[in-house]
Every structure is written in structure tokens, then in C-alpha cells.
């Protein structure tokens, strides 16, 4: 599929831009997350996670990522953060908790990084800058 913007932002490290490719791939994963906006649906999901996921034509990888609460993997298979955040809310997790999880830091380490002014853009602009270093 043609994607005129593709080359320009795929070299940003640790970042999944929710573009046309991912929106098409992740449609049902995200619509599943959207269903969790309703209390009765949240209850049904919590009562039987795998069974509830089978109501949506999601791929096995997408279902597994949800069951594993693998927040980065969900993004890789088409999830959008504002949608996956609804799954986090269903679990009673704050946005900062899942942000920390996606960076591989503890919540406390992440919160302290934010208090120190956040993650610097220095060394974090291009994928080449991350090669040979450990992130996430």
C-alpha cells in the first residue's frame, strides 16, 4: 500500500505512528478496546477474557497481546494508545503506569524521570542513535 509519509517518520526510535497501515491492521483490536467504555461490557470481558475477545475478528497475535497485557506489542499489531488506554482503565491502571511499562521502567523510575524534566530528545531522535543501546 502506498504511504507517502512512510519514510519520513519510521526512523523515529521507540515510536509507532498510528497511520493508515496500522489503522487498517488494528481496526478490530481498537474497536474491542472501545467496547470497554461500557460497564456491562467491561464486566463481561473480565468474567471471560478469551471468550469475550472471540466476539471480535481479531488476529491470534492481537488477542494474545491483549491477554498478555503486552502494551508495546498491542501497538505493533495495530493498537492505538488512546484505545489501549481503555483496557488499562479496565484493569485499574493509570496512564503513567502503562507508559512506564512500555519504556521498561518501573513506575517509580518513570515518575522520577518525568520529575527531572522527562526524557531528553538528545540521543532519542533517530533509530540509529538507539543501536547498540538498551531501551524498552
Amino acid at each position: 500500500m502506498s504511504n507517502p509519509g512512510e519514510a519520513t517518520y519510521d526512523d523515529i526510535p521507540g515510536t509507532t505512528v498510528f497511520d493508515a497501515r496500522r489503522s487498517r491492521q488494528g481496526y478490530w483490536l481498537n474497536q474491542f478496546c472501545m467496547s470497554l467504555m461500557q460497564a456491562d461490557q467491561r464486566a463481561a470481558f473480565k468474567a471471560d477474557e478469551a471468550g469475550y475477545l472471540d466476539r471480535f475478528p481479531m488476529t491470534p497475535e492481537q488477542k494474545q497481546a491483549v491477554l498478555d497485557r503486552d502494551w508495546n506489542r498491542m501497538l505493533e499489531v495495530g493498537g492505538n494508545i488512546y484505545f489501549t488506554a481503555k483496557l488499562a482503565a479496565t484493569d485499574g491502571l493509570s496512564f503513567q503506569q502503562i507508559a512506564a511499562a512500555m519504556t521498561g521502567m518501573s513506575q517509580q523510575e518513570y515518575a522520577e524521570m518525568m520529575l527531572r524534566g522527562g526524557r531528553s530528545p538528545e540521543g532519542n531522535r533517530y533509530t540509529a542513535e538507539w543501536e547498540g543501546t538498551t531501551h524498552g
Binding site: 472501545m34 501497538l75 482503565a89 496512564f95 519504556t103 518513570y110
Partner: protein, 284 residues
């Protein structure tokens, strides 16, 4: 005639709303944030606008992936606060201004901005947090609101240049409205932040400062920033700042900077806020 007299830009971090709703504004973590808005509350209470045109983005609350309007103008009489997964924020229902909103919709479409007309829309933290920051915690909001929801969730959002020109068209629409109304336009979202992936937590103070400076004195320069620069420099969610350019486009080329505030962090985000005023603020 109706007239836009000033513009307000502000972040709309959900955790700020939660801090207000849970009475945590005096905690050391939050106190500096709310202090930064005290002059703003006084300024707007004195100005007493009739209407706020509030540019914001929905965060998968009113719009799922079923329907993704780039520009959606709220024309309803009222807009309920959205349930974002933990119950709606305990804030007043937002009262619209259907006459002005419909007038704007017609004016914009004939001006070749093909916006979406929305008659039913719950409004999430993107709209209600700026209301709380500027108006505090009243029993009823002291202004009518015309919401303008901009897609920044599905890439690509509109360009900064398109947003700036939409602002100009909004101004034209407001000025051709028959009633005498004092209007303030809000541009919300930002500043630098990234909520997703291993690079989450990115903050770029230098970028944010340049953006605030440019907003006052070189908005045309900002309209030339490509999306990739926002993504790379200000984080994947920093691209929300294109919405500030709608506000800026609706103001005079030369404006007076009334107030500016910048603070890191509010949860995952750099809080930025600026008030710009046309001169004279209130037409004689």
C-alpha cells in the same frame, strides 16, 4: 457584530482534571500547575466573553475508528461530559451556541473548509480540562461553547498551515454573525509529550519554548513545520500543537502576549499556556 478578541492556548492533560476532581490541587506536585493559571482565571473573569470557540481533540471518546472527521463542529445546544472509563467528570454540562455554530458551519463550508456538523457529541478531557483551568469549578459554565474537534489521533492530522487558515476562516465567519458577541478562541493540547512505546516520556523544553515564542511573533514560521518534526522533536502526541495554530490564525497578525506559563511535568506531559490578545481587546 461578533468579534474574536483573544486567544488562549493550553494543554489539556487528563491528570489535571483528575487532580481538580479529587481535590488534590494543593498538593506539592500540582500546586505549581494551578498557580500558573491564576492570572488567566482573573483575566477571563474580567473579560467576560459570551462565547468560547474551543479547539480540541477527542481521545476515542465520542469518535471511535468508525468515523474519523478531520474537523467536527459541535452545533448542538449542549454537550455532556464523556464517560472516559471511570465515569464522567463531575463538571457542568457544556452549553453550546447553536446559532453561532450553524452560522460558522455554513460560512466555513462556503469558504471551502468542508467541516463535519455534529449534533450529538460527548466532550472528553480535551475540552473540559481547559474549561476547568480557565473558569475553575462553577455550578454552571459562565460561557457558551462552540466545540471544534480536530482529528490528531489517526495520522495524518491536518497540517499546521491548514489549521492556521481555518482559523482565519473562523474569524471571517464570526465577524459576519449578526449578534454582538465577545468571543475568545481556545487552542488546546500539547505541549511536548509522548504517551506510547519505549520512547514514552519525551519532553522537549527547547522546542516548546520556540513554539511559544513563534506563536506570538512568527506564526507563519510555525505553519511550515512538517508533521515529522512535531513527532520527532515534540513526541508522537506533541503533534496536537497544530490545534494551537487554528487559534492563532483567528487572531490579528500582531498580538499582545498577556500571559505565558510553562511547567514540566503533569503526569507525562509538558504543560504550556499562553494568552494572546488583539488590540484593542474590547471594541469601542
Amino acid at each position: 457584530m461578533a468579534r474574536i478578541v483573544a486567544g488562549v492556548a493550553t494543554s489539556h492533560v487528563p491528570a489535571i482534571g483528575a487532580a481538580i476532581d479529587n481535590k488534590r490541587t494543593h498538593e506539592p506536585y500540582w500546586e505549581p500547575v494551578f498557580k500558573g493559571y491564576e492570572p488567566s482565571k482573573r483575566w477571563i473573569a474580567e473579560l467576560k466573553p459570551d462565547v468560547v470557540i474551543l479547539v480540541y481533540n477527542d481521545h476515542a471518546s465520542a469518535f471511535s475508528l468508525e468515523l474519523i472527521p478531520t474537523f467536527a463542529l459541535g452545533c448542538a445546544a449542549e454537550f455532556p461530559p464523556a464517560d472516559e472509563g471511570w465515569g464522567p467528570r463531575p463538571v457542568p454540562t457544556v452549553k453550546g451556541h447553536p446559532e453561532l455554530a450553524w452560522h460558522l458551519a455554513q460560512s466555513l463550508i462556503l469558504d471551502e473548509f468542508d467541516i463535519t456538523i455534529v449534533n450529538r457529541m460527548a466532550v472528553d478531557h480535551g475540552l473540559t480540562v481547559p474549561m476547568s483551568l480557565m473558569f475553575g469549578e462553577p455550578d454552571a459554565w459562565p460561557v457558551n461553547v462552540v466545540p471544534l474537534a480536530v482529528n490528531v489521533v489517526q495520522f495524518p492530522p491536518p497540517t499546521g498551515n491548514r489549521c492556521y487558515n481555518l482559523g482565519k476562516a473562523i474569524r471571517k465567519g464570526v465577524e459576519s454573525f449578526g449578534q454582538d458577541l465577545t468571543v475568545v478562541i481556545f487552542g488546546t493540547g500539547g505541549m511536548s509529550h509522548q504517551l506510547q512505546g519505549p520512547r514514552a516520556g519525551l519532553i522537549n523544553r527547547a522546542f516548546d519554548q520556540r513554539f511559544l515564542d513563534g506563536l506570538t511573533s512568527d506564526p507563519l514560521g510555525l505553519t511550515r513545520l512538517p508533521h515529522v518534526e512535531y513527532l520527532r522533536e515534540a513526541g508522537s502526541e506533541g503533534v496536537e500543537m497544530v490545534m494551537w495554530l487554528i487559534m492563532r490564525g483567528a487572531l490579528d497578525d500582531q498580538v499582545e502576549e498577556v500571559h505565558r506559563f510553562y511547567h514540566v511535568p503533569a503526569s507525562n506531559t509538558a504543560v504550556g499556556h499562553i494568552i494572546l490578545q488583539n488590540t484593542p481587546a474590547v471594541p469601542a
